[in-house]
Amino acid sequence: MKTAVPPKWLSDSALDHLRAAADAPDLSATRYVLVDKLGQGGMSSVYRVEDTILGRRVALKVIGFADASGELAARLLHEAKVIARLEHPGIVPVHDVGTLPDGRLFYTMKLVRGQRLDQRVAKFGGLPERLRIFQRICEAVSFAHAHGVLHRDLKPQNVMVGPFGEVLVMDWGLSKLLCGTNAAMAEKSHPSALLAAQTPATGTSDGTILGTPGYMAPEQARGDVASLDQRVDIYSLGEVLKFLLESAFRDPIPKALTAICGKASAAEPQQRYDSAQELASDVAHYLDGLPVQAYPEGPFARLWRWSGKNSAWLLLILAYVLMRALLILWRIR
């Protein structure tokens, strides 16, 4: 038995070049020209490309390879369709979707200039700035929920913060359409529907665990897919808030904020906020010095919070009382 002719020796540098060449998207005969690679996940990569028709740069996300089942491509297409449905300033818009000459599915989206929340967090100013960023995340998630979409992988790494403080929730690859919503029904009735029937990853069946440990709700970690609702994202939002607070405070975190985190990330879904809007509203109350739903106050705590909120008025009143007292004393003498 004989083997084939010995193949050519490849240096380590040639190996790396060939690997990069094999991985790079084949953009020939498309409107895009490759600029550089922005990042990669386990199954897909994101590149900065030039749109030669519109003369602008966009981000192109492409699957690493076409698998035999078509599952990876279906997952990416699902993601593109979900994002396209969600037209919101806090969600990156999709421009185009298609198949490259090498058979891989891709979509292009707005090129986000900014940093991931986990990388940017050290540059934030005080607590109010952090809480306002968090409110914007809640707004985007709340919008998605209103359209029947669960994100299911909310974490600081999936939030981008732009140079002017704009917030974008990214990576909807694990998103799920809620059953019974208009979005889910439209998806089902559409002839090109890709969910459930074709894609175990997007139409996840019971027992499939997708998400990030540490940010994943207990019911999600159990793979209890059928019972998931918007509160699975509320849990993750609670963890994101905790991340923002823990990186902000050297001293103990204010009790009201700890209570908000605790309520959002409660182990039982019934004990969490019902909606992202409700969570954002509680944070807004804290910022405005109002009582928060998650933290029932005693009279002393209420007085303390009230005095903190109205410190300027209190000082004026105290000054007035002091002056009156001094005036009275002076008259008596």
Binding site: P7, L10, A21, Q40, F65, A68, G70, A73
Partner: protein
Amino acid sequence: MQDEINLGGNGNFPATRWSLIVAARSGQTEERERALNALIAAYWKPVYKYIRLRWRKDNEQAQDLTQEFFTRLLEKDFLESYDPSRARLRTFLRVCVDRLVMNEEKAARRLKRGGDIQISLDFESAEGELQQIEIPSPETMDNFFAREWLRSVFSLALERLRHECESRGKQIHFRLLELYDIDEGGKELTYEQVAGQFGLKPSDVTNYLSYARREFRRIVLAQLREMTASDDEFRREARAVLGLDVP
């Protein structure tokens, strides 16, 4: 747009032959021999180099052990015990190599070369290649084996691409791939310079190179598909080969 989107699956994925593992286990002699030959072609150099460096065997001992290993692969059907759900094929083979060498050391006797089968392997070239690489530390031997396996897979894919390009009259396409992705110094050349050198238009250089890279990628993935036993193993190997594994 929707109609143009191809999700891969049966329609898009390159048509591949029978998985080598299934074929190597089959009772059909011709199919089995083809499969084992392909496995040997992909694995013999990594195995030889691994034995030389991991087990610190001299040239002759490593040749004997490599011969012995692949002879057993041919004769003893030990692929029967391979379970794709437990490990990748390359991990399984590496463990088998370790076991073979340990048994040989334990027995402390010279290995008897297997039966009438003599596999023709170009040990001289493998030895020459060993001289060109940095000797890995003992704790990185697994990575070394994986790297050598990648080298072997890419080398075989290039050979296949070369033959295909020649048979289609596309030698320049292959030469451009060599120039830009393999040869030292070629990467610094602009498309205009290369176009002048080959008597092409610069846009042709782009298109030819895209073709060669696309075909190279297709062949690599087709090889991986052949050398893996399940979709899951294929995905893991494809991620490793394309460098998609997140550290």
